[in-house]
Assembly symmetry: C2
Homo-oligomer: 232 residues x 2
């Protein structure tokens, strides 16, 4: 079971206010990704612990009380394991990983643990109200690159039909073993490590019905698929 609070489409449309707590989200899974109130940075959840990378390059553990507008989690269970070495083409590795998953037509969680020769991430800058659409905010995203870093990529694959609710294809965040660095993964090279796949056939999609602003909004989704592709 994949549990998601909020949708990527609603976030992209500029509904950036936090609508549930990280602690509420982690009740539904110990492994996942998200962002904080104001689309502030990148959340990564691993072994039930939540971390946050902001646009200033700061990294910290979360208490669980922080609010999030959008987060996706699962209780990770390993269905497939792939050992890899000397990966310089991340895109090819992700394509190979998808072929080892049960299908392109269901979800899967992916955990990539190992030594990375290079890790290239970005962090979404926190936006203050009145919020702009995320495709505008995303035009100025700080990017960071680390070399020789050990850690874990935490993420999900969503079938193309779900592009809008999530990002169709992969959506990956990173956390290092020292818990000092992470973000939204743009590219990487991997010296050696392990890829684990968790095939998932059920999405539990929760919408923020407690949030008056969301409930009352007239949300413009007319160009959402393209905006998501540009922003992510």
């Amino acid at each position: 079971m994949l549990y998601q609070h909020g949708t990527l489409g609603t976030l992209i449309a500029g509904m950036l206010q936090g609508t549930t707590s990280i602690g509420e989200v982690t009740k539904h899974g110990d492994f996942g990704i998200g962002t904080l109130d104001g689309s502030d940075g990148e959340v990564v959840i691993l072994d039930g612990n939540a971390y946050h990378a902001n646009a200033q390059g700061e990294f910290k553990a979360l208490t669980g009380e922080e609010l999030t507008p959008f987060a996706t989690v699962t209780d990770f269970q390993t269905d497939e394991t792939i050992n890899v070495r000397h990966i310089t083409d991340a895109e090819a590795l992700l394509a190979q990983t998808k072929r080892r998953a049960a299908s392109d037509n269901i979800f899967f969680a992916v955990k990539m643990t190992g030594k990375f020769e290079m890790m290239h991430v970005r962090m979404m800058p926190k936006e203050e109200p009145p919020y702009r659409r995320l495709s505008e905010v995303a035009k100025n995203q700080p990017e960071f690159t680390r070399e020789q870093v050990e850690g874990t990529i935490v993420g999900f694959y969503a079938p193309q039909l779900f592009h809008g609710i999530a990002a169709g294809g992969y959506h990956l965040h990173f956390v290092d073993d020292d818990r000092t660095f992470g973000g939204h993964v743009l590219d990487f090279e991997m010296n050696s490590g392990t890829i684990e796949i968790n095939n998932i056939d059920t999405l539990q999609q929760h919408l923020p019905s407690n949030d008056a602003q969301f409930m009352g909004a007239d949300i413009d989704y007319s160009n959402i698929a393209q905006e998501i592709s540009e922003t992510e």
Copy 2:
């Protein structure tokens, strides 16, 4: 909680084989809609009982053993009740109903019980393998009209962002009180009756991971939003 097995998009793309049983679906809700193996006709589930209207105009109770590629159910609970009389404009009534729901941005189930001056339905004809895309099948859908009929409209509203997984907007089926007539609602006039709304903020979307054909398929969703609008 709204429970859905399969997606409308996958059905529209021609994956018409039944992938779970009606009895399995009704474990997740006593109120809902669907179709049978081969996109055969229109299923309506009311008070935990499932019925089927086929393209020959036949209507029968289902045993629960029948297979379905796509069905949506909830355990219906009434949040809002509207009493109505002398409705000749179904579209205006549905717009009014939506304004009484909690939001356009979450799901709701709608139950419309009463005396209908006119009920205009269609039934999707059963398709045999190799299946065509549903937009092709739908070009020859028998339509039926009954006058002076008592019964219940059973259906759902989905937010526009979910167009693809479901039909954005309303998707309504009908069953008469005598359990002799029903189908997919195209239009109606209502003499008097009651509209009940059940606001729903969580979708549990189940994909048919037990079906090798679905799992292995290269599904073309490139024009799916428009195909759904044309077909439904």
